[in-house]
């Protein structure tokens, strides 16, 4: 229960930090997606049901603030959790490697999906510019942020649910 209750204050804080701080720390035109990193780390450390719930809550919160169509964020974060659920069974001996893999694939797929949807809705976004200036820099920043975030989320998961800890 506490695992799900803690999602509301924690993910609200993540949205605030993302919107007010992380969005200003740009590399070229891209920046890190703190929500994606948190959800990836949580999905690798916590139990399955809470990770899906967290992805839906986080997706709704981000889409409330963002001008992006609401389903893009929710679908993207659910996909991140899906990859994490698949990889945690296969790469359980090396959690950081699993984290990097989830971040890499999650960022790539989520940004490509957002790019596709925006182009379909009439926003002219050239693929080359978007890839070079947004997607790849965002991926690099996500990978850099994933190391400290993973440590924090691992401790939080251990704190709220000691029996769920799987190393």
């Amino acid at each position: 229960m506490i695992r799900n209750l803690i999602a509301f204050p924690l993910l609200s804080l993540v949205v605030i930090v993302q919107s007010s701080i992380i969005s200003q720390m740009a590399l070229l035109a891209g920046y890190a997606d703190l929500m994606l990193i948190i959800l990836a780390a949580w999905a690798l450390k916590a139990d399955s049901s809470s990770a899906w719930l967290w992805a839906i809550i986080g997706g709704f919160m981000v889409s409330f603030v963002s001008g992006m169509p609401w389903f893009v964020d929710i679908a993207g974060y659910l996909f991140v959790v899906l990859i994490a659920q698949i990889l945690r069974q296969r790469v359980w001996q090396a959690p950081l490697l699993a984290m990097f893999s989830v971040i890499f694939m999650g960022t790539l797929v989520m940004n490509l999906f957002a790019l596709l949807i925006l182009n379909l809705l009439g926003t002219p976004l050239p693929f080359g510019d978007s890839l070079g200036l947004i997607i790849l820099p965002s991926m690099l920043l996500n990978l850099l942020f994933s190391i400290p975030v993973y440590a924090v989320v691992r401790d939080t998961a251990q704190w709220v649910s000691p029996t769920q800890e799987v190393e």
Partner: protein, 281 residues
């Protein structure tokens, strides 16, 4: 008697010697000797005083060091507090300068009514160029209201909740604004981009556009009020085989440093979609 004579002789000799020395001194003959003697004495005095001070410092040092450390800590705390105050005051000065510029702008443009708002966030998606401001429907902010700074147009309100609103910047890739080139006296369309650069499209090939031309909103389409400054033409691309010229724009506003903005609250965008003819299938 003999003893008395001996004492008188001694006294006389002493007086003579003292008198002689005084005469020599007044005559200036003892200057070198007295300087040498004086410097030797001063040297000795200095040597003793220095050693004494060193011994005194050595004996009193532990007490002084503790006092000095305590004083140092107090002063460091004081310096930290004052540095905090300086940063705080500098922030207030910066805010006051921005507010003063905005007040000047609103006085210079009395035809519009303004509501100030602070920028509290940016869109979490890097594909979109939106900002979040701390004024919403409780303050009379409505969707479509233009948002400006004292330097020029920055965008328009895209979504509103009770105490906040989201503003689509003119640099957003989905933004398209009808503009007027002041010097060339022609209309064009300003479009944003994924990098935040602004460019002009749909400039007629017949028109001469020069770098430095001022770009203003035209008011066409009813989305924005006319004559809001957007920027200046940076360079022009004219190709004979294309229908229109293109130009890149240097925006008047620094979009990376938006802190306080003004919402034009007496402007309502005109909804022209019902007037657009629908092509039959």
């Amino acid at each position: 008697m003999r003893n008395l004579f001996g004492r008188s002789l001694q006294t006389t000799i002493i007086f003579l010697i003292v008198g002689g020395i005084l005469v020599l001194a007044f005559g200036g003959y003892l200057g070198g000797a007295s300087r040498g003697l004086g410097s030797s004495l001063v040297g000795m005095q200095t040597w003793f005083a220095t050693r004494f001070a060193a011994i005194q410092d050595f004996l009193a040092a532990p007490r002084d060091i503790a006092t000095l450390r305590q004083r140092n800590a107090e002063l460091e705390a004081e310096v930290s507090r004052l540095q905090g105050q300086v940063i705080d005051l500098q922030q207030k000065v910066d805010e006051t300068e921005i507010l003063a510029a905005l007040v000047d702008f609103s006085r210079a443009n009395p035809e519009s009514t303004y509501k100030g708002a602070a920028v509290v966030g940016r869109d979490p998606s890097p594909f979109l160029h939106y900002i979040i401001i701390n004024r919403g429907s409780n303050d009379g902010v409505l969707r479509g209201m233009p948002v400006v700074t004292n330097q020029g147009l920055i965008g328009r309100v895209d979504a509103v909740i009770a105490d906040a609103a989201r503003v689509q910047l003119v640099t957003d890739p989905a933004s398209a604004i009808n503009i007027r080139l002041q010097n060339a006296d022609t209309d064009a369309v300003l479009i944003g981009s994924v990098t935040g650069d602004l460019s002009l499209d749909m400039i007629s090939q017949d028109v001469t556009v020069e770098p430095g031309d001022v770009v203003l909103t035209s008011g066409l389409g009813g989305g924005y009020p006319p004559d809001l400054i957007i920027g200046q033409v940076l360079n022009v691309r004219k190709r004979d085989f294309e229908l229109f010229q293109q130009a890149t724009i240097q925006p008047a506003v620094d979009f990376t440093r938006l802190e306080i903005v003004l919402i034009i609250t007496n402007f309502r965008p005109v909804e022209i979609e019902p007037l657009v003819p629908i092509t039959p299938p």
